[in-house]
Amino acid sequence: MSLASRETEEMAVRDVINQTLDEEMERDERVYIQGIDVHGRGGTSNILKGLDEKYGRERVRNTPISEVSIVGSALGAAATGMRPVVEIMYCGFLGVAGDQLLNQVAKMRYMFGGKLDLPLVIRTKNVMGANAAAQHSQALHHWLAAIPGLKVVCTSTPEDTKGLFKAAIRSNDPIMLFEHGSVYNETGQVPVEDYTFEIGEAAVEREGEDVTVVATQAQLWNALEAAEQLGEEGISVEVVNPRTISPLDTETIAASARKTGRCVVVDDTPLSYGTQSQIAADVSEEAFFDLDFPVQRLGIPDVPTPFSPSLENEILIDTDDIVDAILTLA
């Protein structure tokens, strides 16, 4: 399915999310939303704006500030015939609901012998580069991916946002859907038709021969820019978007690394125990005999996110960092 053959329109990521939720709520009356302050402005990033008016406040539910109960009650609703889409305003608040995620949502199906469906989507956002300080600024998809039983999806482009959201809402499994604050206003072509992207499948976003860059979310945009820049200098960069980070599509990623023999992994999680390390370990194993250089990992150093722009800029990864990492492998 290439974009070229389909009717598309230019949209910002934030509008894609809103439209997709709208379509899915229209399609299936069991789909409903709950979260803090989702009425009126439509959640902390205004993503849900208008849905409360269209579907009523019974289907777009303002909760108290109670993340345990927000997540846990959605789980109970999912187990009994509803299809909740939960908003956790910032991913940093997931810890409040830690047990419901770790021991309830993730384990319920397996522990009970695989006998129930749990069509539950928990949307949240990673935030970096907004001077939001340690508790409001972090990426946590690696933390949820470390729990077997949760599928973890990271959205990035307008196109994958639509395909992944639709797939997640229609899935019968609990899915952690990580958005990224830095890409909400990014725009791109989105197919008009209804489509889903398979949860668990990575995508080669740009083909290349010399080096593979595996990049998620905001870093995918940076990676594509780096690829563009280096292309002008005659270095051909292949860019892979994992889309799902658990379960990880190691096959697609490693195939690319085997082809190019060089691999850089870029993600906004910490360098220790982050997504990069998992991908690097997998690539190092699966492409061992084809790699010319060690896999390079770019990520946030192992500190909480500092507030001051001068400090935060220091720890952020930008396009130049990706270009530099690629060049060290040249």
């Binding site: 047990d99 397996y110 009970f112």
Partner: protein, 336 residues
């Protein structure tokens, strides 16, 4: 102070006999599990409900099949009172392929979601938010199903209880919390685990939420039935959450193997004199609801049933090891 009942809900004679049988079934099942655990037939932990039979029985008697419940680490009694099959329960506790969870859950995680039993739960208060969600789902789907969360006195100290009841109260959900006050959280008495303001009446934990509150004798199945009936009635009619405390005692240790060093002198005997599986049949016989012969027959039948359940469990195969890799997801993606 808990509200007073204005009108007492009275079980029919048929229901009374049914409740006796349920309590007996729990007692028999549990006693056999205790013995077989001591004989090292059963893997893992075992938390028994012996002594608390009247609580689950009285509550479940007033529920309809379509209603929901969540349970705890001490969940066998809730399952049996709900009408789950003792055969599949025993098989699960033995870790067998034929158990409710195909051996994946064990004693602490028996569930039958189809039957509205949303699972025992090893996390204290972990099931309360789930029951809240079932109550929400019922409301959103426009059915009048109610959701009952069973939990121990200890669970009242967990934030999960409070967040759930607060949310249920705001949304007027058909949620009923049953506090099973068995005097202890593990080996610590309620006086160590709760402030003095709560000792006389643990339902005060529901006061901020405006929950309907009742405290009842948890050794008296009809008192439990009565309070549960009122709570269920309210829930079905959109009158919001209730919190019912059943005051009772567990006769076994916190888990099997517990040395029970913490019991006060005479405490056990005091509560033992109220044992519902001893006192209730006497009462029903006294009141002419049941004959001594019928009671003897009931005992024999239940014993046979449990014998067969355990035989089935013993003889069932262990799950094929490869099943360890299955059942995680509905849509595929089971991984490395």
């Amino acid at each position: 102070m808990s509200e007073q009942a204005d009108q007492r809900a009275q079980p029919t004679d048929e229901e009374r006999v049914e409740m006796l049988e349920t309590m007996l079934r729990i007692r028999e099942f549990e006693s056999r599990m205790r013995d077989n655990f001591a004989d090292a037939e059963i893997p893992g932990f075992l938390h028994l409900y012996i002594g608390q039979e009247a609580m689950a029985t009285g509550v479940c008697q007033v529920l309809e099949d379509r209603d929901y419940l969540t349970s705890t680490h001490r969940g066998h009694g809730h399952c049996i009172a709900r009408g789950l099959d003792t055969t599949k329960m025993a098989a699960e506790i033995y870790g067998k392929e034929t158990g409710y969870c195909n051996g994946k859950g064990g004693s602490m995680h028996i569930a039958d979601v189809e039957a509205g039993m949303l699972g025992a739960n090893g996390i204290v208060a972990g099931g309360v938010p789930i029951a809240t969600g079932a109550a929400l789902s019922s409301k959103m789907r426009g059915t009048d199903q109610v959701a009952v969360a069973f939990f121990g006195d200890g669970a009242l100290s967990e934030g999960a209880f409070h967040e759930s009841f607060n949310q249920a109260a705001i949304w007027d959900l058909p949620l009923i919390g049953i506090v099973e006050n068995n005097q202890y959280g593990e080996m610590s008495g309620i006086d160590e685990q709760h402030p003095p303001s709560t000792h006389d009446d643990l339902t005060i934990y529901g006061e901020p939420y405006g929950a309907h509150r009742e405290q009842v004798d948890g050794m008296d199945v009809e008192a439990v039935y009565d309070a549960a009936a009122r709570a269920v009635e309210r829930a079905r009619h959109g009158e919001g959450p209730s919190l019912v405390e059943c005051v009772g005692y567990r006769f076994e240790g916190h888990h099997e193997g517990d040395s029970e060093f913490y019991r006060d002198d005479g405490e056990y005997e005091h509560w033992k004199s109220k044992d519902p599986v001893e006192t209730y049949p006497e009462r029903l016989i006294d009141e002419g609801v049941l004959t001594a012969d019928e009671w003897a027959a009931m005992q024999a039948d239940v014993e046979t049933e449990i014998d067969e359940a355990i035989e089935f469990a013993r003889e069932s195969p262990m799950p094929d090891p490869q099943q360890a890799y299955e059942g995680l997801y509905a849509d595929g993606g089971d991984s490395r």
